[in-house]
């Protein structure tokens, strides 16, 4: 059994990890296990009525099957009604402003709006001016808080099982994040989340893809894969995007593979117990070798499963903590 903290959730929105305290993060992580159980029900309905009668809108400016379906499933398993809006189908194409689009959505009485946007700060400026509970599903390069939370949850779930300690936390855990750090909101949110939980973060990637001053966020930086993973408990590979090549950021995919790919060969440099994680979708054999992705070290599918539970926990906390939203 896990601890039962008495902290109450007080925020209207979940916009990022940077502003959360360690206690708030743990509240989410400790709320999630009961939702893991709901999704794991073998016989019986994988649903609880916590968001019955509530409306959750998924508003995605960028295409994303994985995150969008995870949020949709989470909402449905809480018995909420869901609605998905993709930007290409919405008025954004006709030039409607961000604020107008949300106001129009809210006129239909929404409770939660999950938004993914290509520009940093979009969820933040919306949250300031609109009453819905806003969940940031990724804003440009800035943050992807639910990803970091499900990643931390997965890491903790694993170490609790391995150490047979149901109260273990992430303090002292060594996590190496490998890849295009500059363009990664997953990296930023993970740095905040892991450092607040007491873990040590090492970032590794081509120099051209490491943003200036990122050490000030609390991470160690190296461009040497061996150095990054030689004592890592978790190796987290980020997706590399091919378009970057044209911008003179790295010379070729081939070179990237040689220097930074997480594969059987590079894993020989890592401790045998090290976990392999990836936010998905994977470019097989580019940043992560196929056999590693499918190996016993990999908890990538666990991340996906936990993603639904963590998102259920977040939506429940936002709506049922007694503030904001339409039906409060």
């Amino acid at each position: 059994m896990t601890q039962a903290p008495r902290l109450k959730w007080t925020r209207k929105d979940l916009l990022g990890i940077e502003e959360l305290s360690r206690e708030e993060i743990l509240l989410i992580l400790d709320t999630a296990p009961q939702f893991v159980a709901v999704s794991a029900r073998e016989s019986g309905i994988k649903k609880v009525p916590l968001l019955q009668g509530r409306l959750v809108v998924n508003w995605f400016y960028e295409p994303s099957t994985r995150t969008r379906t995870s949020f949709e499933l989470a909402a449905k398993r809480l018995s909420a009604d869901t609605l998905s809006i993709t930007a290409s189908a919405s008025s954004a194409v006709k030039g409607e402003t961000l604020h107008d689009t949300l106001a129009n959505i809210e006129a239909m009485h929404t409770d939660i709006v999950v938004i993914r946007h290509s520009y940093a700060g979009a969820p933040h400026i919306l949250a300031q001016r609109h009453p819905s509970h806003i969940v940031n599903a990724g804003d440009g390069r800035h943050e992807h808080p639910t990803q970091a939370l499900l990643d931390a949850f997965t890491m903790r779930e694993h170490i609790r099982a391995v150490r047979q300690d149901p109260a273990a936390q992430l303090d002292g855990l060594r996590v190496a994040i490998i890849g295009d750090i500059t363009n990664s909101r997953v990296a930023r949110s993970n740095i905040w989340c892991l450092t607040k939980l007491g873990a040590q973060v090492t970032l590794c990637g081509p120099r051209t893809l490491i943003p200036p001053h990122i050490e000030r966020m609390g991470a160690v930086v190296t461009t040497d894969l061996r150095e990054a993973i030689c004592d890592a408990d978790v190796i987290y590979a980020l997706r590399i995007q091919f378009e970057r090549q044209q911008n003179c950021l790295f010379p070729s995919v081939r070179e990237y593979i040689r220097l930074f790919r997480v594969d059987q060969e590079s894993l020989r440099l890592a401790p045998p117990h090290a976990l392999v994680m990836h936010p998905g979708p994977i470019n097989r054999d580019i940043e992560l070798a196929a056999e590693v992705a499918d190996s016993a070290r990999s908890v990538i599918l666990r991340q996906v499963t936990n993603g639904v539970a963590v998102r259920m926990a977040i939506m429940h906390l936002l709506v049922n903590s007694g503030r904001g939203g339409d039906g409060a």
């Binding site: 402003t97 520009y119 940093a120 400026i125 440009g140 800035h142 909101r185 001053h213 000030r216």
Partner: protein, 423 residues
């Protein structure tokens, strides 16, 4: 009828005057400056400073082309409200001011609609494309007072060299917007810890500094005058300082937001913290302040850049650069520079009057008997709160909304007419 401004503290840096005195105005001219003067109408300037109307050599009035943001008329009213009697609008309008007809258009519109003096600038290259020089000789003849491609730098060193030589020949100063745009990949704020933390593409200082250096070197090569616009970085100031010491004919300006704010202001993603060049970090603010104190910065220019609420009410990435500045300048100068004992009140007035006037050789920025009655009366101690809703400008994009500043304009006179008076 004559008008007399009484009981004020007259500051005129051009004549090194700073004393209690009255100013008598007859028609459009200053008749006398002295003690115990009397006239037909009276303006009581007790507790106030009486000085030359301020001069802003860097504003953006959006006429022609984007009149919903600002017109020459509304911009002039904003100027008057801020204590300015002369402004130099930049030529990056739509279409740009790159030929004599457009200069004449600005002059005509100013004559018809403006309440303060408009001194037009013109583009240095046709369409601001950085390729072909404009006909600067003719532009000067029809009334342009400076040339600039402001909004952009001239990318080709060859072209800039020739522009500097030719402008100097025509007696025009080149106003240099220093920016190496190739270092910027969609940048929208200073490159530093905050841009990394917020996930916003950055604009490194080097973008500005590389071009300040290059532009000054070309000025030195040609012997021409060059004026560096909106300086924001410590190193930029240092480059200018060294160039001056080496005898290069360089002057420079900075805007109030560069000594008031840092890139921390971007944290809330408010687009009123987005301008080009961007807000920098604390060390740069300190260096700008030091440069103002030691005279490396020659004058203050607001870079007044109006945008409608709708234009700015978008995602940070997409918002246009710029903030308004005419109506908050005095307050920010006094609050940020004088109240903090960085410079004296007299020096502050100098930076806003005769100093910018001299850079462009304009016959303004001073109080002299027989000269034009371009005067501002302001209360240096009065506290007031910035409320964009009462701005005379058509635009409201200021990061200082709700701030309490010290130093408020009481009255502005242009050619002897009261063009603004605090209610």
């Amino acid at each position: 009828m004559s008008l007399v401004i009484v009981n004020g503290h007259v500051i005129d840096p051009a004549s090194a005057r700073s004393e209690r005195a009255d100013v008598l105005i007859e028609g459009t001219r200053i008749e006398r400056i002295g003690k115990g003067l009397k006239g037909g109408k009276t303006i009581d300037a007790s507790g106030c400073v009486v000085c030359p109307g301020f001069v802003d050599i860097h504003v953006h009035f959006r006429e022609p082309g984007q009149e919903s943001k600002e017109t020459i008329a509304s911009g002039s009213r904003a100027a008057a409200r801020g204590g300015y009697t002369s402004v130099v609008p930049m030529p990056n309008t739509a279409p740009p001011i790159d030929n004599a007809g457009m200069v004449e258009f600005v002059i005509r519109r100013a004559r018809e609609t403006a309440c303060v003096k408009i001194w037009p600038s013109a583009c240095a290259t046709k369409e601001r494309a950085g390729q072909e020089m404009t006909e600067m000789g003719e532009l000067k003849d029809v009334g342009a007072v400076a040339v600039t491609d402001d909004g952009s730098d001239i990318a080709s060193s060859w072209v800039l060299r020739r522009v500097l030589e030719y402008a100097d020949m025509c007696g025009l100063t080149y106003l240099a917007h220093c920016e190496d745009a190739s270092l910027m990949e969609g940048g929208c704020m200073n490159e530093g810890y905050n841009s990394t933390r917020l996930g916003l593409p950055g604009m490194p200082r080097e973008m500005e500094e590389i071009r300040i250096d290059r532009n000054i070197r070309l000025a030195a090569l040609t012997g021409a005058k060059i004026h560096i616009q909106h300086v924001t970085t410590a190193e930029g100031v240092e480059i200018i300082r060294r160039a001056k010491a080496n005898g290069v004919r360089v002057t420079c300006e900075t805007a109030p937001h560069y000594w008031m704010l840092t890139d921390e202001a971007v944290t809330t993603f408010s687009t009123n913290a987005k301008m080009n060049p961007p807000l920098r970090e604390a060390a740069d603010v300190a260096a700008i302040r030091a440069a103002i104190a030691d005279g490396t910065i020659d004058c203050i220019a607001t870079d007044h850049a109006p945008h409608t609420f709708t234009d700015k009410d978008v995602e940070f990435h997409l918002a246009p650069f710029g903030i308004v500045g005419l109506e908050t300048a005095l307050g920010l100068v006094l609050t940020g520079l004088v109240e903090t004992d960085l410079i004296s009140l007299e020096r502050a007035v100098e930076l806003m009057t005769i100093a910018p006037a001299r850079i462009l050789n304009l016959p303004i920025g001073m109080l002299r008997e027989g000269g034009p009655a371009d005067i501002v009366v302001f209360d240096p101690k009065k506290e007031w709160t910035v409320d964009p809703a009462v701005f005379a400008s058509l635009s409201r994009n200021t990061p200082f909304a709700g701030e309490t500043l010290r130093g408020q304009v009481k009255a502005t006179l242009c050619d002897g007419n009261v063009v603004y008076q605090l209610a």
